[in-house]
Each structure stands twice: as structure tokens, then as C-alpha cells.
Symmetry: D2
Subunit: 341 residues, 4 copies
């Protein structure tokens, strides 16, 4: 009986290392066979299978993306659902599914598991916002890419005496902004968990500028000024309730420039944060998760996923990862905030 | 008598290596003294001087930005002009000026030189659009940063089966797009020198997609569709003559997506292309230019600048760098175009 | 009353971020003043002090090395000892010492603390071999550098069909080898904790080669073949008890080549593993440790140090870090070993 | 009729980009078919062919190594020679050979060409020592890797007040040392073209140390002290005529330490200089060379190779690349030497 693997949702550096870890361990220790589903749940529902053996995973742990492809297909939509999936598994001699995905994927996996399907999981999110795991793979790479970009922005900011704004990923949580901003020595870090006033931002920017520094402001894409309500991003509105096109960084730039008189430029790092070669940290974490989830599947611990706790890979039920986003706690924000301004 | 150095216009990786090259050589070979002007021509006009000796240039060749600061101040504006500059030089015991800057700076330097001021120059432009030199420092770094970003974009494009658009610098010329696109294996490279039809772009994108590739489109910020006239960028208009906010990449994304049905995402690399640690290529080039321009100043070859020809540093009059931008010639575009689609 | 900071022992990427974290937090929250001791304990004993304020720590968190300098001076040797140190502290208005160093430094700090001196500490080791902390700063950077180097070695190995050996740091523990080897997909990882037979190594190398791979062997500098006793490294002997000049990697290369007939090349990564820009992971960890140790000093918790536990910075007594090296546990080695061959 | 491609000699970053450039252009413009020879001339003589179409070259321009494999096999040795090669070409419907290799390969290619075989070439050498081309691909990548390593070595040297020696590739020429040393701000660059006395080296090291710098010495593997004769390296002798094991860097370290009293450490960069992802510079150069050599083959310009002159790809006869190594000219050394000490 084969094990099927799928990757679902946005890609994250390390996906291939998870796949490789599971396949290599299964192949070497148990002669286990595998099959890949193309493009996440879509490959399950549409029965699009890919060969997935030792040859296919050769040398992939350092590749970004996922060799299986990914999509945001919901397994309950369209022709999907537990019965369809059970049918596909049986017809293709597949005993169980290893689902690698974010909160949506894990929630779906849980529902399918509750419906009796043999599913185990690996949590995946660039944003590091899944509870029940200390870190998710891909996060470290995203932080490193953002930090490298900020190191570059700082020198050009210094040369011109400009305020530089770097907008990083993080629609609901500020982990990437917090870590990359701390690493890059930002003068302000603006995250979704902490609505902040324009006055406060101006104070930080001015303080840095007064000491002769070119201010660096790091902002999560989901950050809101205290004058904005939670629906501004969904509705595409700026701080004044007007339609806006750019991201929050581009919205803040002219506001800061106008209030401080300091030339201000925003850069949206965008998709480069989630692609390319994973850091060694993410490769090790992902490889370990892949090898561990293989054990979950082999020992038929359906409804469970692997996670990082300290330096250990542990097992937790899907529900531990669901329900509540892992946001930046107040003490971590306060810790970083000391360095602002 | 001291030599004054200034950096003017946008920053470029390698500025500090030029400064260091000139100062170290002058100090070691001739006991020459130097002084820096703060923030380009503004520092000359406003008589803002910075100490610039061996100590100040220590370890700076690998730093992005410029230790002298830069600005876009025109030396003829405001209180400026030849008389004011001559007065500042005399009062501060400065024999000559080494001006490191782009076309605007070199044009101003030429006018000042024609007015009898002792000026020599080093050409600087990220965009590589200055005639009379094979390459300018900073260009190689910008291409490397853009290429690294595209390597990342490709893996995320592949994972999702998306068309990825990377918008790079280049308002008037397409050198950065040409080189980074070639290095990254782009399926289309769109540059200001080559107005292109949407039909052609769609053909390239579709061709790549049909072969199972996630299309990568590289576009210079100054590119125009054949339906756009040269004033669209200045007037901030999109392909349909409507006001637009984002850059050309963001304008193209929905057009491509609509025509091809392929999910399309644009990333504007922005300011990260010009900051941070220079490549070794740029450090070597910049160091050599700095040492050579020092000789120009020492031998009083006013009105001249240094340039790269093959592997040699040569001397050319300012006017050789002026008048005509160095655009991507047709044969270089044709060479690259073979690989499109 | 001022706080004195020193860095001692081998340098590690992140030292400057620790210093900056402590100084910035102290300056901003408490108006605390600081002073640096030059070159570790030597600066204490010889009363060589450096100014250490906000200006000095500007922009240093991304710099490798340590702005204070470091040495392996033992504070009890020569003119040192508790009385001398107490005298220096008093004369210079220094209330306490923050000592950033490895096991030797922490052991000395403990003895001084036992003798009544006001000392707190931050553990530092590239090798990640200090108990009581999940990770030490500098380790992640070393692993990343080693992994990058191995990614390069693999392509040249593949091109020539060679076996490549990468010797990494780790005299007593194999953490760097374990993590970088796992990240790079090594076919064998040889660490000091696991004496291994040449037969076993040959089996792994041959197995990889038989599958058409160019074998990659990662070896800690302190690894011993099962035929070598623990004193071979100290005595500079090779596997046959003969004097040797190169490291263990260079010793293994001809042995593997002779037994397998596969051309084999060894590279000793050496000092590049500990220098240069820290990863974002190390910058964040080091910054947090620096801010936390400042609190230890402010609250006079002499004899204690900060450490990482999961995602938290905790406080532990010096003795928790001493006595026993944190070696690679059997289960972590077994986990990685599955992938060998 | 197909075109056969081979890569021969040591690998260099960019080989795959050359292959891809030739194959893609041939496929797209002329429907030309290709075949690869496995492991250089060995694949020709032993008739080991690899499929080489559009699919095989997909995404390879950023990969180090060579997908065809390489070896140092001489086409005239063993069963080789013109007749054997002609036979293999005919039997496999191969019209011509594109040989990508260094001086040895080009010399063999010339002999084969003189014997009437249809061969064109692309010069390849990490060392940049081939006449008739301004630069060879792979050189820029090697310089960048060496420079990055030196940036790291400097911070650890500074932290400890040590003299750091970096030994780089270059058995007969000093180009890598010259460029990386210049980029890294070395205090001495020792190259094969310039025998130098120990007294001179000590003067440079001492001068840097006296100014408070940690001296950085860059040395080509083929450098000789003025007391060594040209056979010391071949005979494996040190400066005193004694057998030695390590490279020249390791030989110099204790000599410098003894004479200056400054702790000195040598690092041999070794194989990491030639592997891994090529820089964008090398990718562009290699791609252009690959596209151009395809034209040479299509137009039957046997006995010729492509080369870089300024910004142009030109055509030269094989003999222009042979006979004389391109060494570092005196004026380039003198230019760099100004910065020593």
C-alpha cells in the first residue's frame, strides 16, 4: 500500500525537503512506496498522480517551491468530499495521505480525518502563525530574505537621508516583520497585532532622524493605523477611507513624508520572500518533519500532525493547530519596541 | 592643496570603493590630502565639508551607499554657479573637485569645467546608460540582485503554475532587464528601447506555458506597449490612457492574466536593486576608477573623466559621456530575443 | 555606576548584536552607561577600557566579529584574580560585568562570581555545545556557511564523479556537521560522538556512488575512526598512528579513494565558518540575549546567565552551562543516519 | 545532422549556461538537434552519448557543474585519435563538435581540427588565464566566492587581532588573487607572476598591523617566495627545500607569525571556488558564448572559438588562445600594489 503526499496552499521554502525526508526514510527503512498528488487537493479529487520515488526526490531539499505543485483547492468543494477521496485512494492502492499545508489545509484534513479518512499532516506557513509549533519551515527563509533586503535599503536610505519603508508579508500576524525588523535594526516595526497611531510612528521616525540615522520602518502587510478598522484591508481602503491601490507601505510613505519633511520611499518585498533556496535552518527543520510524519503515517496515527517544540519534533492532534492563530504576544512586541526610535 | 570629492545623484554600489581608491592612492603615493563635500553639489555650494582621510575610508569598499551622502542638487541652481564654487574652493584650500555622478552631474561638471573650474569625473549609473564606458559600477550589483530575486520568483511561479512578472530599474534603457532576464532565463524581456505589442507578449507567455513552464516576464520600469506613447509614464497613464498607480509590471499583470487565463503576479524590485554590498566585480571596477581619477586630478586634466574600455581604464572628455544615452543596441536585443517564449 | 561588557574566546557571528542589544536597551530604558573591556579578560586585568555608548553600537548587529576585540586570556592568570578585578571595577566606577563567552569564560565567571564579583553572562559557542541553552548564537550562521559551501562542492563533485569531503568545525561535538550535512543532503556525517569504522564509511560512499551520485561526506574536525583513540587529535596522529599535518578530512580522502577507486577531494572550511554577517536567526537571538542579560545585571542576579529555551529567553545559573558538553544525542544521530548512503 | 557538445577539464560555473545557450538557440532558430558526450573526450572515444534537447537544458543555466560530466581525458590517448573520433561522429550522425574546455582541450581541439575534424570551441578556465578573451566564464564567480570568504575572514581577524591568509586558486596566474584581493581590501596580494621576498611581505603585514588593522594576505596557490625556484610546487617543497604537505598559505603562516609576532591563520578556499550557482555576470557571458559558438558550428568555421572582447563576442582561431598564458601584466599588479600595506 502506498502513501500519497500533497502540498497545498501558498508555497514555502522547505516543502521539497519535507517530501524528500518522508520519501527517503520510507524507502530506506521500510521499502515504502509513495505517490504524489499534483497541485494539492486538486490532484486528489481529479486523480492526478505523480510518481514519487527516490529518484524524484534526488537533490530537491535545496530547491524552493514544491515538485508536486500546489493550489488552494478545497477538498470539499466541487466533486470533492470524503467519498470521492476514499474512492481515489482505494482505486490507486493508497493507504494514507500526508497533507502538507497551512491552516486551511489542516482544517480540511481534520474534517476528512473525522470522516474516517487516513490523514496525517505537516504544518506549513511562511507567516509562522500556526499554533502548536514553535516555528514553521519557510519562516526562517522569509525572514532572512527580508533582512537581506533591509540591509540593502539601509545603505541607500543613509546615502540620501531618506526614510525607507519595507513592507513584508504577514496579513494577520507580524512575525516576519518582528524578526526581520529586529535583525535589521529597524526604528519602527508595525504589525497587525498592534494598531498604532500616526503620531507614534512619526515620533519614532523623527527620533531616529534627529540622531542622524536614516529611519527604517518595517510594516506587515496587514498592519492597521489606529484610525483604520479591521475591514480597511479587505475593502481596499486607505487610512482616510479612500480606495487605495498599493499596499500599506505605499500608503504610509506620503503620510510620513508630509508630517516629517523627510523624503520617504516604500518597497514591497512581495513574492521574493517565499521562493528560492531555503536556509539551512528550514532545510533541517523540514527534513526532520518529513521523516517524523512518515512515522505517523506508518503507525496510523490519523488526525495528527508533527510540530516543533524546542529542539524536538513532537506529535499533536490537528485541532491543536486550529482555532487560534499564533500571534505575536505582547511581551515579544514590548521587547522589540524598546529598540524603536 | 586638497582635492575635494563629491557623490551626486542616486546612490550606486561601489561609490565608496571609488572614494577609497582615490584617497588611499593619493595618501600613499603623494601624501595628497582630501576633503569630502556632504551630499553632492549641495555640500559645495553650502560649504559643508567632511574630513576625508585614510581613517575615514577604512573598510568602506564593501559598503553600499556613500559615506559622503548624495543629493540631486544642481550646482547652478540657487546660490550656486561657478563663482560661488570657486570661492568655496579657494577659501578651503581645495585645488580640484572629483565629481562622481550620472549624466546630470557630468553635464554640470562639464559646464563648470568650461567655466574654468578644475573638475574631473567618474561616471556613475546603476542603469549602465552612459556612453563612453563599457560598464558603470553598480550595474553588476543591480543585475545580480535582480537575478537572485528572479531565481526566487521562478520557484514560486513553478509551484503555482503562475506567470511571474519582475519589474526592474531602467527608465530609459533596458540593460538591467536584458542582463538579469538573460541570467534568469526569462521567457520575455521588455525594455524601453523596444516597444512591443500585447499580442507578442501573450505569444511568449503562452508558448512557455504550453511547454509546462511558469512564464517569467522581466520588464524595465520604462517599457511601453506599442499602444502607449512616450509620455504615458510621465503622465502616469496606463495602457488605456487611464491614471495608474503601480508600475508597468502591475499594469501588465491583469492584462496578461485576462488574455491567457494564467494567474499572473507582478513584483517590483525597487530600491533593493541599488543598495547594499557591491559585487566583487563592482568593487574592483570602482577601486580602479577611483585610483585612475586621482591621477587625472593630480595631472590637472580638467574636463575629463575615467571610463572602462575592455579591461582598461581610459580617459575621455566629459562630452563623450553626454548627449546620447547608451541604449541596448538592436543586435543585443535580437540575441536575447531568440530565447524568449 | 557603569556596566562593563567583555567578549572572550573565539569570535562568533552575533557578538556585536548582543553588545548592541544590551547597550541600546540600557541607554533607552534606564539611561544606563556602559564601558567595554578590550580583548576579553585581558582588558579587565590590564584596565584597557573602551567607550561603549549608543554611538559605538550603531549599525553593528550585522557585523561579524566583535567591536570589543577578544582573546583567550584567563582572568586568574598572571596579574589577574578577583582582587585585581575588583580594584579595576572600583577605580573605573563599574558596577558589574557582562561576560560573553564560551565554556572557559563561563567557568571563570562562575569562579569570580563565587568570589563575590558582580558578574552575569551570555553563553557563546559556534559549536552549539553548551548545555542549558537550546542554541547558541553563531551556530546558525556557521551551519549556513557550511551548507552553502557544500551546495557548491556537490556540483563540482557531480561534474567529475568525485567523492567530496567537507571538514567542518566541531572539535568535541558534531552539531555543525549534523545540521549542515542534513541540510546539504550528505551521504555520510561523521561526528566526534560516534566513532565509526572505515568499512562503514566505505559502505555509505559506495552506496551513493552506485546510485550514480557523487558522494558527499561531512566530517567534524574532531571525528575519530574506530581505530583511533581519543588522543590522536591531540597528538597529531593519523589513523595509523603516524604524524599528520592536515585535518581529519585530508586524512580520510586518500583512504576512501584507495578503497573505492573513486577520486576523492577534501576541503577544510576553516575560519570562514565563524566570520562575517550573521544570519537573521543569529541576529534576533543575540539581540534578545543582549537585552535580557542587561536585565540580569540591572537586577543584580550575579552568577547567572541567559539562555534560549524553546522560543523564550530564560535565566539559568552559570553551573547549568558547565560540567557537561551538550553532545549530539543518539536519537538525533540515528535520525540523520537514516539518510546516509 | 546533429551537433555534439562536450565539456572537458575542471568544471567552471557557467558550463551549463553555455550548453543551454547553444541548444536553445539551435532548437528555436534552426530546429538543430544536439547530442552530449559524457565526461568530455572520454565520451567521444568511448561513444557514450547523452540525449541533449530542449528538455535537458531546462533551468540549468543557474546550476554549477556540467550536466554532461567532465574529465581530463586526452582525445589522443588510448584508443583515441582523429580516426576514432571521425568514426564515432559518422556512426552517430554527428556533424560537428562544440568543445568547451581549457588550454589543454583547446590545444587538442586544434590538433583534431588540423587533422580535418569539424570542431569549434569555447574557452573555459576559472583562472582567467586564456589569451584572446578578456574574461572567461567562471572567473567572476570564483572571485565573488573568494571575496565573500575574505569578507568573513576579515571580521574574525579583526576580532582577534590576527593576520589572516587566504589561499585562492591560480597555479600559474594570479587573476583570482588580484581581483578578490582588491575587492576585499587585502594588505598584500601574492601572485605567481611576482616572486616576492619575505622581507617585503613582512613589511606589508607590519604596516597594516601598525595602523591597527588585522592584516589580510591573499595568495595564489602558485605563488613563490623569491627564495623558491619554479620547481618547488611540483616537487612539494617549502621555502626551505623541505617536503611540505599544506599549500603555500599554510607554509607562509608560521613564517609570518614568527617574524612579526602576530598570530597568523591560513585558510585554503579550495574547491568551493569552482562550484555552485554562477554569478549573473557569468551566466550572461556563458549564454552569449553558447549562442555564438552555435553560429560557428552552423557556419562550419572549424578551428575557431568564441571569445569576449570588450562587450562583444568575437571569433578567433584556436591558436590565438594557445601558446601563451594570459598572466597578470605588470601595470595591473602595480596598480593593486599601491594599496598594499
Amino acid at each position: 500500500m502506498r502513501i500519497g503526499i500533497l502540498t497545498s496552499g501558498g508555497d514555502a521554502p522547505g516543502l521539497n525537503a519535507v517530501i524528500r525526508g518522508a520519501v527517503l526514510k520510507g524507502d530506506k527503512m521500510y521499502n515504502q512506496e509513495f505517490v504524489g498528488f499534483r497541485s494539492g487537493w486538486r490532484g486528489v479529487i481529479e486523480e492526478e498522480l505523480l510518481p514519487l520515488g527516490r529518484h524524484e526526490v534526488r537533490g530537491i531539499s535545496k530547491q524552493g517551491g514544491t515538485i508536486l505543485g500546489t493550489s488552494r483547492t478545497n477538498p470539499f468543494e466541487g466533486n470533492g468530499g470524503p467519498d470521492r477521496i476514499r474512492e481515489v485512494l482505494e482505486r490507486n492502492d493508497i493507504e494514507s495521505i500526508i497533507a502538507i499545508g497551512g491552516e486551511g489545509t489542516l482544517a480540511a484534513a481534520r474534517r476528512l480525518s473525522d470522516a474516517g479518512l487516513p490523514i496525517v499532516g505537516v504544518p506549513k506557513t511562511i507567516d509562522n502563525d500556526i499554533s502548536a509549533t514553535d516555528y514553521t519551515f519557510g519562516f526562517d527563509t522569509a525572514v532572512q530574505i527580508a533582512t537581506d533586503a533591509m540591509d540593502r535599503l539601509r545603505t541607500t536610505g543613509d546615502a540620501h537621508g531618506r526614510c525607507m519603508i519595507a513592507e513584508v508579508m504577514g496579513r494577520h500576524v507580524g512575525w516576519i516583520a518582528l524578526h526581520s525588523g529586529m535583525a535589521a535594526g529597524a526604528h519602527a516595526i508595525l504589525i497587525p497585532e498592534q494598531k498604532t497611531s500616526m503620531d507614534q510612528i512619526i515620533e519614532w521616525v523623527t527620533s531616529a532622524s534627529d540622531r542622524g540615522r536614516a529611519p527604517l520602518v518595517v510594516v506587515s502587510e496587514g498592519f492597521l493605523l489606529d484610525t483604520m478598522d479591521d475591514t480597511h484591508h479587505e475593502r481596499g481602503l486607505d487610512a482616510f477611507g479612500r480606495p487605495r491601490l498599493g499596499g500599506i507601505g505605499e500608503m504610509l510613505a506620503p503620510m510620513i513624508e508630509e508630517r516629517t519633511g523627510i523624503e520617504t520611499r516604500a518597497t514591497t518585498l512581495g513574492h521574493i520572500q517565499r521562493g528560492g533556496t531555503p536556509t539551512s535552518y528550514d532545510r533541517v527543520l523540514a527534513t526532520r518533519l518529513g521523516m517524523s510524519v512518515l512515522e505517523l503515517a506508518r503507525t496510523k496515527q490519523w488526525g495528527k500532525m508533527v510540530a516543533l517544540r524546542g529542539t524536538d519534533i513532537i506529535t499533536v492532534p490537528f485541532e491543536d493547530a486550529l482555532g487560534q492563530l499564533k500571534t505575536v504576544p505582547q511581551h515579544r512586541y514590548d521587547e522589540a519596541r524598546v529598540l524603536f526610535g
